[in-house]
Symmetry: C2
Subunit: 115 residues, 2 copies
């Protein structure tokens, strides 16, 4: 007997493909506990702004993340209302917390970025 809903295989493989990139997977894990803006990710991943922006777009296109503009910045957060969020969540739960990245940002005064 199945108590949890199942996901269509095509759909599941599409989601897994998106998470099958270390940058995007880390982003999702970070976003699960912390809102982040683009420039914070640029700092964390030491990656160019367009590269970060393009990863976030892929996550947003299938609505795994939400974005919200606040002044100059656009903050990203996990979309907990996504139909497949339970699936995503169960995957993220197997991954180590990424609090050091955030702590580092804070130590450098770069958290809540660009303040």
């Amino acid at each position: 007997m199945n108590t949890t809903a199942t996901i269509d295989l095509q759909r599941a493989s599409q989601l897994l493909k998106l998470l099958g990139d270390p940058t995007r997977l880390t982003m999702m894990k970070l976003l699960k506990s912390h809102e982040c803006c683009v420039c914070e990710f640029v700092e964390i991943f030491k990656m160019s702004q367009p590269a970060i922006s393009q990863h976030l777009r892929k996550l947003r296109d299938i609505e795994l993340v939400k974005e919200e503009r606040r002044g100059q910045w656009i903050f990203f957060s996990i979309n907990e209302n996504h139909e497949d969020y339970p699936f995503i969540k169960s995957i993220l739960e197997h991954l180590p917390e990424q609090n050091e990245s955030i702590a580092e940002l804070e130590a450098q005064g770069l958290r809540v970025c660009c303040q």
Copy 2:
């Protein structure tokens, strides 16, 4: 408090990337309940034998599946002893059973393939 072991993010993304292909993901789900040989997969996926073989190789290379020759045939099965099997298992549990494919094979007399 974490009760379950976590997986390194690099490692996890590598696994997810492999599962992020509909053919391989379906293979894994099938193999979770049924041993299968290459020619059965060829039948199920309506895909060329080399294509199937190459997918299986990728799964075997990181030891997600085991192979065992029995006469002419090589049977594949899930490697439940894989260090990250709990992670894999938790993903597969969200996917719908693929028993129809096996039932179809049996109906066509193609199960335990090539007998």
